[in-house]
């Protein structure tokens, strides 16, 4: 129990440093600290699949972020946006935080999953019948590739679309049609 508090406080401190520092490279490195701390928490929350995926995704994301920020000068941007808008947004964020605290009181306490409090839920069926129905001993894999495979199909579509978007944005010059009259 204490390890969750320690790791979450570590993540929050890293997030504050990542938000508030002026140097962009150290900010990116602090994002890496948040990601690896999150991966450790996933491991302690008994989710090894997520921990493995989070570590490798974090490494690739850091490579992407550092590639974007390294060897660029003029990244030191100080000052915030105009004062009035910032005050309004901070007040709104604070109100959202207070409302969220009220919502969290209605949730079950930490350590009891929701599917245990609800009788005849989907997760109970996945755990008790997933082995016979799919033959996979890793229940997470049997959920994402058999019971809820539509979700994975949509995920593949979203990934495909975002990669196409990145490729189109980064293309050096537009492809010309062959018979297009040149101006």
């Amino acid at each position: 129990m204490a390890v969750f508090y320690i790791l979450l406080l570590f993540m929050i401190i890293a997030a504050i440093i990542a938000v508030e520092t002026d140097n962009l490279l150290s900010s990116v490195i602090c994002v890496g600290a948040i990601g690896f701390g999150g991966s450790l928490i996933f491991l302690f929350l008994r989710a090894p699949d997520i921990a493995i995926t989070q570590i490798v995704v974090e490494v690739l994301g850091l490579i992407i972020l550092i590639r974007a920020t390294i060897s660029r000068d003029r990244t030191f941007i100080t000052g915030d946006r105009e004062f009035f808008g910032m005050v309004v947004s901070i007040v709104i964020i604070f109100v959202i935080f207070l409302a969220g605290m009220k919502v969290f009181e209605t949730l079950p306490t930490f350590g009891t999953p929701i599917f245990a409090t609800v009788g005849d839920s989907a997760s109970q069926a996945y755990i008790s019948e997933g082995m016979q129905k799919t033959g996979a001993t890793n229940l997470v894999t049997s959920v994402i590739l058999d019971f809820r495979a539509y979700d994975t199909l949509g995920e593949a579509t979203v990934l495909f679309t975002s990669i196409i978007g990145a490729t189109v944005i980064l293309r050096r010059k537009a492809k010309k049609l062959p018979e297009e009259p040149d101006q």
């Binding site: 090894p48 699949d49 921990a51 493995i52 995926t53 490798v56 995704v57 490494v59 690739l60 490579i63 992407i64 590639r67 974007a68 060897s71 660029r72 000068d73 003029r74 082995m131 129905k133 799919t134 033959g135 996979a136 001993t137 890793n138 997470v140 894999t141 049997s142 994402i144 590739l145 058999d146 495979a149 539509y150 994975t152 199909l153 593949a156 990934l159 495909f160 990669i163 990145a166 490729t167 980064l170 050096r172």
Partner: protein, 159 residues
């Protein structure tokens, strides 16, 4: 980017094989142990990204060129959809029906075998192919874009 020093090149030429093998293991055993197509695909992509960082972009592009990567990406997506369609065509029980397991492997002693779980390993391979190829593709494109800047902008190519 001409690549890094000889120490990095030597170490990464040994390590890249291990990373690639580990990615294949994570994908193939995804239905028995933690892992699966997503994690394994990202590990496969990261082995090629290691090649790209250590040896330079041209070397990685010789190994896995950009058109080949995009073809692998599309092949993974098509394989995943084909596995789903086979469930529809074979038993008419629905999209994504696990027909191999339900038809052939159900009564046998299937637990903890590598060949078990029907279509799930096939889908894992498809997802791993797709995720790995597309992530390698985007990092390759990102490095190609950052390669040459216009003279007006500020880029110092010291490395």
């Amino acid at each position: 980017m001409k690549g890094m020093t000889i120490i990095v090149k030597t170490i990464s030429s040994w390590v890249k094989v291990l990373i690639f093998l580990f990615g294949i293991y994570i994908i193939l055993f995804g239905h028995l142990t933690p892992g699966g197509g997503f994690a394994g695909g990202v590990i496969l992509a990261s082995s090629y990204v290691l090649l790209m960082l250590a040896f330079g972009r041209e070397f990685a592009e010789e190994n896995l060129s950009l058109p080949l990567a995009s073809k692998l990406d599309c092949a993974g997506a098509l394989l995943f959809a084909a596995v789903a369609l086979c469930g529809l065509l074979y038993g008419a029980a629905g999209f994504f029906w696990n027909f191999i397991h339900q038809k052939y492997l159900m009564g046998t002693d299937y637990e903890f075998n590598l060949v078990s779980a029907g279509t799930i390993p096939l889908s894992n391979i498809a997802i791993g192919l797709k995720v790995g190829a597309s992530l390698f593709l985007v990092i390759l494109t990102l490095s190609m874009c950052c390669k040459d800047f216009k003279p007006g902008s500020t880029e110092n190519e010291k490395e």
